[in-house]
């Protein structure tokens, strides 16, 4: 448990800073349409705010029910709150990511879960430091229930990357509509997609069953001298 919490703390912080931060700046420089779409920035402005929550409305070009932190997006991308961030209105409509709401939500799910991981790990690390982690049932439940969240965050992150790059296959050079195989019919593609989904669903089921069996059978009993060390 100790190793897990410490590793979790270190890695969840590293994900956000510096690696996530650098990646975000890289995307802003190289894929401006993607960053505008995932942040829901319909109108470019200096001192752009970071949308924490809200629903992107493509028809009105607004975020409905927004909770915004002012100036923060400019600061995160360019390091100064006065910087101009390119919005979707400055990009031709045929170069917008095609599934904009999905992209927006995928990105916010990923970022939100990333934040939760940091909060959870800081909380558990603090309790560990105070030697209260093993008796704080609410913390242990939070850890247990958070087990599937990294998989979801991972998938949402990949969706962000792949949806953000649309409509480009090779960014700025070749569109997806120009690059696919002409000789593969739609039916063929659908059949294999369903085939893979079915296979992966089966494997996911198998994985869950096997992991459950492993966990419910418990860890191997250690020798008696080591048992006192087990709690550490």
């Amino acid at each position: 448990m100790k190793v897990g919490v410490i590793a979790g703390l270190v890695s969840s912080i590293l994900i956000i800073f510096p690696t996530g931060d650098l990646h975000g700046k890289y995307v802003a420089r190289n894929q401006p349409a993607a960053i505008a779409a995932m942040e829901g920035l319909f109108h470019g402005e200096a001192g752009a705010g970071l949308v924490l929550m809200g629903q992107p409305n493509e028809d009105t070009g607004q975020i409905d029910n927004p909770i915004v932190v002012n100036d923060l997006l400019s600061f995160l991308i360019y390091g100064t709150t006065k910087a101009e961030v390119k919005g979707l209105d400055q990009i031709p409509h045929d170069q917008w990511p095609t599934a904009l709401p999905l992209l927006y939500y995928a990105y916010h799910i990923m970022a939100g879960l990333g934040t939760w991981f940091v909060v959870l790990m800081i909380g558990c690390a603090f309790l560990l430091w105070r030697n209260r982690l093993y008796t704080a049932r609410w913390a242990l439940w939070a850890l247990l229930l958070s087990f599937p969240l990294p998989y979801i965050a991972n998938t949402a992150g990949w969706m962000t990357a792949e949806l953000g790059r649309q409509p480009w296959l090779i960014y700025g050079l070749m569109r997806t509509s120009e690059g696919y195989s002409n000789t593969v019919s739609a039916g063929n593609g659908l059949f294999t997609l369903l085939g893979f989904m079915g296979l992966y669903a089966l494997l996911a089921l198998l994985f869950t069953v096997l992991i459950y069996r492993e966990i419910s059978s418990g860890p191997e009993p250690k020798s008696t001298e080591a048992q006192a060390d087990y709690a550490n």
Partner: protein, 347 residues
């Protein structure tokens, strides 16, 4: 020059894959027919357990370098063969999963199910691989832009409008099935002892006879379907050593098996696969994918190849990768040398 080098590098990796994963697939086929008791099944799986994953790496290496060195071939071939390729992926997944998870749940019906999946997927993989090679050797109906589409079958003739299945590719699939099953049997003789090894030794005989017949049939059929296959041989008569090598290695399998020199018999089988594939490649060179719609549409080496700088840089990295890959092969086969203990566990 670079084209020649890369053609044979890709060929070497594909040959390496067939020789290495071939016996895994062969053991899979035999798993259905030869191996009946629980002890035998565990033994057979343990004989390939530590090595099968590393063997499959050579398929990725071959496919990856094919993409790298000959992107047009990759684009054309993998688009045209899209559905068979996806099915091969599924079979590879099913084989790997059934192999690894079989011993994880201690329930009879689970083990029986996964044994069946393992055997069936291995058998289908050999047939698919053989038919795929036969499709390449026969040629495909390439259009002017380099793409093609093949229905599953047309009239079963390898004429100008073939399907994926015709009498020639069926022969190809059967050759692969029998050759790799024999290869797997020879591996089992090396790695197992007792009753299972005896049964494996006995099945080599009928497999060998069928393989000789199929080899002769496939060689004759290839010449009939694509007479241009012989051009390189007649231009460089020294390369007739390749079909002679095929015959010699087949003889070696028979002789060494009779004298119960199992390692030499297995190595002869490796040589057989090497000579068959090298011979097929030499029959093709420099064409990569022949066209049944006219030789001007063949995908040749010069049409498909990447730029010279790319290939030169790639050669350096390929060398480093090969050192790692070969080092690993030597290490893992050395570590798991000798007869198998079915209950040693953990692969």
């Amino acid at each position: 020059m670079m084209g020649f080098i890369w053609f044979w590098l890709v060929a070497v990796m594909i040959v390496g894959y067939v020789v290495l994963d071939g016996f895994d697939l062969g053991v899979g086929v035999l798993h259905l027919f030869l191996v009946h008791t629980e002890e035998d099944r565990r033994t057979a799986l343990a004989s390939i357990g530590p090595v099968w994953d590393g063997n499959e790496v050579w398929l990725l290496a071959g496919g990856g370098t094919l993409y790298f060195a000959f992107p047009l071939l990759y684009a054309s071939g993998f688009s045209g063969f899209y559905l068979p390729l996806m099915i091969v992926f599924w079979l590879l997944i099913l084989r790997g999963v059934s192999l690894e998870l079989r011993n994880h749940i201690d329930v009879g019906v689970w083990r029986a199910l996964l044994d069946g999946v393992f055997g069936l997927s291995s058998a289908l993989l050999t047939i698919f691989f053989g038919a795929a090679l036969a499709n390449v050797l026969r040629g495909v109906p390439l259009q002017a832009d380099g793409y093609f589409f093949l229905p599953l079958w047309t009239n079963w003739q390898p004429g100008p409008h073939p399907g994926i299945l015709d009498w020639y590719t069926v022969i190809g699939g059967l050759v692969a099935l029998i050759a790799l099953t024999l290869h797997g049997a020879l591996w089992l003789i090396i790695k197992t002892s007792g009753e299972l090894a005896q049964r494996a030794r006995r099945i080599v005989t009928p497999l060998w006879f069928v393989l000789v017949a199929l080899t002769l049939a496939s060689l004759a059929a290839t010449i009939a379907v694509r007479p241009a296959s012989l051009n390189n041989y007649f231009n460089y008569p020294a390369t007739f050593i390749v079909p002679m090598g095929v015959a010699a290695s087949l003889a070696g399998v028979w002789l060494f098996n009779r004298k119960t020199q199992s390692l030499k018999a297995f190595l002869s089988s490796c040589l057989y696969l090497f000579f068959m594939l090298a011979g097929a490649c030499w029959g093709l060179y420099p064409v990569l994918l022949p066209a049944t719609t006219g030789a001007d549409r063949d995908i040749t080496l010069s049409r498909a190849i990447s730029g010279p700088h790319t290939l030169a840089v790639g050669l350096v990295w390929w060398g480093l990768g090969m050192v790692l890959a070969i080092g690993y092969v030597v290490f893992v086969y050395g570590k798991f040398r000798g007869k198998v203990d079915p209950y040693a566990g953990g692969h």
